[in-house]
Symmetry: C2
Amino acid sequence: MLPEVLPLRHASRQLVRELGFLQGRDAASKMSYSHCHTLIEVDGRGTLAQAELPALLRLDKSTTSRIVAELEGRGLVRAKPSPDDARARILSLTPKGREKLAVVHRDSNARVEEALRLLDEDGRRAVVRGLELYSRALERSRERSRYVLRPIAPKDKAGVARLIRTVMPEFGAVGPGFAINDAEVDDMPAAYAAERSGYWVIVTQTKPETVLGGGGFAPLAGGDPSTCELRKMYFLPELRGLGFGQDILTLAMDGARSAGFATMYLETLRSMSQARALYLRNGFRPLEGRLGSTGHHGCDSQYARALTGDERSGK
Amino acid sequence: MLPEVLPLRHASRQLVRELGFLQGRDAASKMSYSHCHTLIEVDGRGTLAQAELPALLRLDKSTTSRIVAELEGRGLVRAKPSPDDARARILSLTPKGREKLAVVHRDSNARVEEALRLLDEDGRRAVVRGLELYSRALERSRERSRYVLRPIAPKDKAGVARLIRTVMPEFGAVGPGFAINDAEVDDMPAAYAAERSGYWVIVTQTKPETVLGGGGFAPLAGGDPSTCELRKMYFLPELRGLGFGQDILTLAMDGARSAGFATMYLETLRSMSQARALYLRNGFRPLEGRLGSTGHHGCDSQYARALTGDERSGK
DNA sequence: GAAGATTGAAACCTCAATCTTT
DNA sequence: AAAGATTGAGGTTTCAATCTTC
């Protein structure tokens, strides 16, 4: 277990309790915390579909429905039926709602400032950074839990082919000289069942499973037998930024190391900037030219790193 | 307004939503967070008086009463009447409660760890530090709100005298050569109504007001007319660590500057370590000997700083 | 009277069921 | 059937009132 887990849980319990005090109903404004957040979200967007509120506030739609009804009843929010869809309600603040929000902002700012003034500038910046990092990490972790990472299986044949044929054109990787034309695309499960290779997929947790990402390794075609290639790592947009690239890269490097490879090579495109940042973080370094004979002359960028030693990052 | 206020409020809203802090439930164990926290607090102390729970969990005593009743009903907590006081109930975990807590810990650790693994080591440390700093600042801010800082008034005469005669003996500052014997102690409001001086007190917000701390400045007796003395700054233990020393020191320095003083001098004791740290943070430097003729030869430590320029800290 | 603890009423939240519109 | 929204039932919390013991 990471050494930070227990201290963080303790700090988190403390913080939740303190925030419970800070953000409890304010007697003066008679507004619950959720009501204030709703006003803030509606104000920040000018107008807002009521259907968006549950995701923004992380509350059940029944709760947001009741909040809106209450705010409407108090004349702080106006709800109009959408012209496009008679089911939907479009929310906006009334002038009275904007006044109320100004009061809420002033009170909240004052209370937060009062606490921040007890810290020096370095401490204040550390607080903001720490809370931002943690809430972002929790958000990513929550989103990750909607997916499953597992080795490729025969049933993934069609899904993986569709994945590759969807992502590559997004980056202009169509036509000759790109992996999208490789014969293996049509049957990835068979291709990566071979010795000294591996492929993993990310699928939705909810059935029916849909393949949304994948990546693997195999011996480098026409290359040294001690060199493998990181191959066909692609993710649909909704999966990006959740750290699955790092997961698959780690699995691939560990698998390649176990299979006796000494070097991992890869070909990619400069336009895949998120992927290139991942490679650099993991100790991959750009090469001057190609290795092996992959036939992917459409790729404008090559990287490699040694798999020996315990060098995990490129620092 | 501090530049960190708005980013922090945003980050705080995000974090609160991610933590699902209100009415959150731990899915696996079917326990509300408050129930889990209660088990953790009881376990951490072995046994715990039920009356301590509201302060620990920052919940109303009616809520903690219901939580304990629920946990008792489920056989997780045992409550015995205190042998000393038939009103009080002493809580402890049953073996079944300890088992349940182990499950809760395992689940919580796993979830927190899953999020932390998305950060590098530097990020993880920043998260822990940021949350600890903020929860501590909120706690201090909450405690501060129970008190009021204001200029001394005639009605404070008895309270301030009692304050000084309580705090000084705590640090051994009794007998000849200490400020506790100064004539002004018996009527501080009158003494500090004079020109070029000021005194502030910290009193409880709840009536009747009780004086719990104070401090001020006045011309240095027997010293240069451009030199003032920071005088009689004392706080009862419950007030320490809440930043009131900094508040009074800032008021005193600003007041002295306005009254035309160029230097602020002070006499203290080495044993008052919190006060000395405050002086050093505020640009005061130790002197080799005494200034003026205060008659406080009991003090073993002298400091001074210039009031000109904008030097605020000693860095 | 004050402190420890409990109980009733009301606010807020979630889950599940329902209604309306697409 | 699916999506937007509402409603009913039940859990959690606070405030205020109450009971018991010191």
